[in-house]
């Protein structure tokens, strides 16, 4: 046995032992019998394996959801970083309150006011990205087997949260005006009739991920009224509200709730500033906020004080809306390039949304095309997207796809959509050949 080799860790020069795991496949059963229900629910899937291949360097990935981080001015970053070192070094290296830094929560009140939402700093909990806000709110309300309503399609990143906590999700279809609230009412009545009264509805009203659509004002009113009448808690996830290229902002559900306390509002700095800082927030009535806070204590005690300080200092000195305007100008061009390419390269029978903001277009192909099979074929041409199934918990969405335009250059969007168009055309030709009577 020569497990005593020593290699040098190039970064530090410190000798480290070679990685020799002592645990092998035969030991798998040891853990299987001990894993929690929560961990057992998170199994690997063909979809995940498929998406892992899309992360290779030479693939044009329209699968991501990455904001542009190259537009952030270097000088601003340097100034703030250096001032944090001079003025806040000890405190930004220290733990902070679970709720988050007071100054930052006060600044967030101002940010929400720009969208016409009036929150109090006391009602805000800083989270580690919007994703943690989703996780905390689902685990605060959902028992295993509880019925939850969500748009169909819903945010693919929320799917593992629903799965982990055992939510029984019923999807509510959406159209160009967002979630079909009339169908939500129907679903609610049906489920209640079966003794499965939904506790919460999870929705992204603005520039929804993945569909790109925005809930109309009448539907917002109707949803809030329905929630009030039936005691349904609304989880309003609003990461994209200010990533708007066209039109006027609509009031948030939180604002329409008017302090009645049926809306838990979630947002993030990931899209208006940068995702790497991992700062998001939740706004909730005090009773709910306490539970979110306890959940966060268990999860990570507090969000990074260093990045909270960074955001706070940034907001003190700069109008973040200038940065948002810079981003929106970039995204608008990319969106237009994508819509133009779709028009030119996607076949008859394909439909897609025309988002007025956000990061995504949702395209739906003729129903004989399975977008997982399409993704397998498209990978031969080095192009990737998110198959629609990833946005559903019930196996639907098989002919749809999510296309991201924010994280890819205009030239690559054109090239990527062009290649996709060719692969889709191959499927259509083959479909006609397979179904001669119907061609």
């Amino acid at each position: 046995m020569s497990t005593h080799d020593v290699t040098d860790n190039p970064s530090t020069g410190t000798p480290v032992p070679p990685q020799t795991p002592l645990v092998g496949p035969a030991d798998a059963a040891r853990y299987d019998s001990r894993f929690s229900l929560l961990a057992s629910g998170a199994t690997s899937s063909a979809m995940r394996d498929l998406m892992a291949i899309t992360e290779q360097a030479d693939v044009i990935s329209l699968a991501g959801g990455l904001p542009d981080t190259e537009a952030f001015p270097r000088a601003i970053f340097d100034d703030i970083a250096s001032d944090i070192g001079a003025d806040y070094l000890a405190s930004s290296l220290q733990y902070g309150p679970t709720d988050g830094m007071r100054e930052l929560r006060e600044a967030i009140v101002g940010i929400m006011a720009h969208e016409g939402a009036h929150a109090r700093a006391d009602d805000i909990l800083i989270t580690s990205g919007g994703q943690q806000a989703i996780d905390l709110s689902i685990r605060t309300f959902v028992n295993r087997g509880d019925t939850v309503l969500a748009e169909g399609p819903t945010y693919p990143g929320a799917v593992p949260c629903f799965t982990a906590y055992g939510a029984d999700v019923t999807h509510v279809p959406l159209d160009d005006d967002g979630m079909r609230v009339d169908l939500l009412e129907e679903a609610y009545a049906r489920l209640a009739g079966e003794g499965r009264v939904p506790k919460i509805v999870y929705t992204i009203p603005n520039f929804q991920n993945p569909a790109g659509v925005t809930m109309s004002l009448p539907r917002r009113h109707r949803l809030v009224e329905f929630a009030h009448a039936n005691g349904l808690i609304i989880i309003e996830d609003n990461p994209y509200g200010q990533i708007r290229f066209e039109g006027e902002a609509l009031p948030t559900l939180y604002e329409l709730d008017d302090g009645a306390g049926w809306v838990v509002y979630l947002s993030t700095f990931s899209k208006i500033l940068a995702p790497g800082i991992r700062v998001g927030w939740a706004v909730a009535p005090p009773q709910v906020l306490r539970k979110l806070n306890l959940g966060k204590q268990a999860a990570d005690l507090c969000s990074s004080t260093m990045t909270q300080r960074f955001v706070t200092e940034y907001l003190k000195r700069h109008d973040y809306r200038e940065h948002v305007a810079r981003l929106n100008a970039i995204y608008l061009r990319r969106r237009d390039v994508m819509l133009g390419a779709l028009e030119a390269r996607f076949p008859e029978g394909a439909t897609w949304t025309r988002p007025r903001g956000g990061l995504f277009v949702w395209a739906t192909l003729p129903d004989f095309i399975d977008t997982k099979a399409l993704q397998a074929k498209a990978l031969e041409r080095q192009v990737a997207f998110v198959p629609g199934e990833a946005a559903f918990l019930d196996g639907s969405g098989t002919s749809s796809m999510r296309l991201n335009f924010s994280g890819v250059s205009e030239a690559l969007i054109t090239e990527g959509i062009g290649r996709l168009g060719e692969v889709i055309a191959e499927f259509c030709t083959l479909h006609d050949a397979l179904n001669p009577g119907r061609a």
Binding site: P21, P25, A28, I53, D370, K372, A373, H431, L434, P436
Partner: protein, 313 residues
Amino acid sequence: MSRVAVLKGGTSLEREVSLRSGTNVEAALRRLGHEVLPMDADQHLVRHLREERPDVAFVALHGRGGEDGTVQEILEILQIPYTGSGVLASERAMDKVVSKALFRAAGVQVPHGYAFSKEAFSRMGAADTLPDIQQTLGLPLCVKPARQGSALGISMVKEPGDLAAAILNAMGYDDRVLVERFVPGRELAVSVVMAKQPWALPVVEAVPLGHDFYDFEARYTPGETELRPPRDVEDDIIQEAARVSILAAETLGCRGIARVDLILDDEGRLWVLEINTIPGMTDTSLLPKAAEIAGLGFDRVVADMLALAALDV
């Protein structure tokens, strides 16, 4: 002690599985005292192999490129002995259409089926034969891409009108697809060691959890199966499974350790579905389970695979 390059990853759809296999193999090789050179099978593979000049290559790749003769041919050119089957056997095993034909010719029982290339439909009007196929084979049918290692692209056709859609779907994964009769029964896996005198590891059964019988969904849904020695199966059937599996591996000319997947139907008949020339070596794979049942352990299997490494020429 040897310098062993572990080839893993690659760009096939089974990349993730391969990385998990490779990690386990590397750990075993280190425990066995070998020097391990992990290598992702990317565009720099040949350069890395030339620079490192390993004594032997352990091929832990799955799917296209790694299991179909491609990487084996490269290793032949570089004259680096490698684990698993040679070029021709890899190609034969990867293509379910070819291996099925060879099995049948050698007297190995396989489910009846037909294969189609894309051209058959696009240039020769093969769509008109679909009703004949359903007539001959009956329902349900199993539709598979000819050369795809994982369960991706495989579907079961229960309704007459669904066959064309299933073929279209499978063609996303390969230009050739296989349509065969779905044989209901118990799923067995036999890992065969192709030493001078070939022998078989204990039979492993994949038992569905929470399903009345081993239906299609259970067979291909991860996390829903338990791997264990088959219960209530007569010894002569077990012996026959081992004999048939060795015959199947000999028929294709396999080397090293290969895994044969079979169905045991209700009447006690064995049907060979396919051979995997590079069996999965992940925590939940069948070959490691067989090694555990045999009391050999994972490391011994890895050592055997290494000992059987060779070149075609």
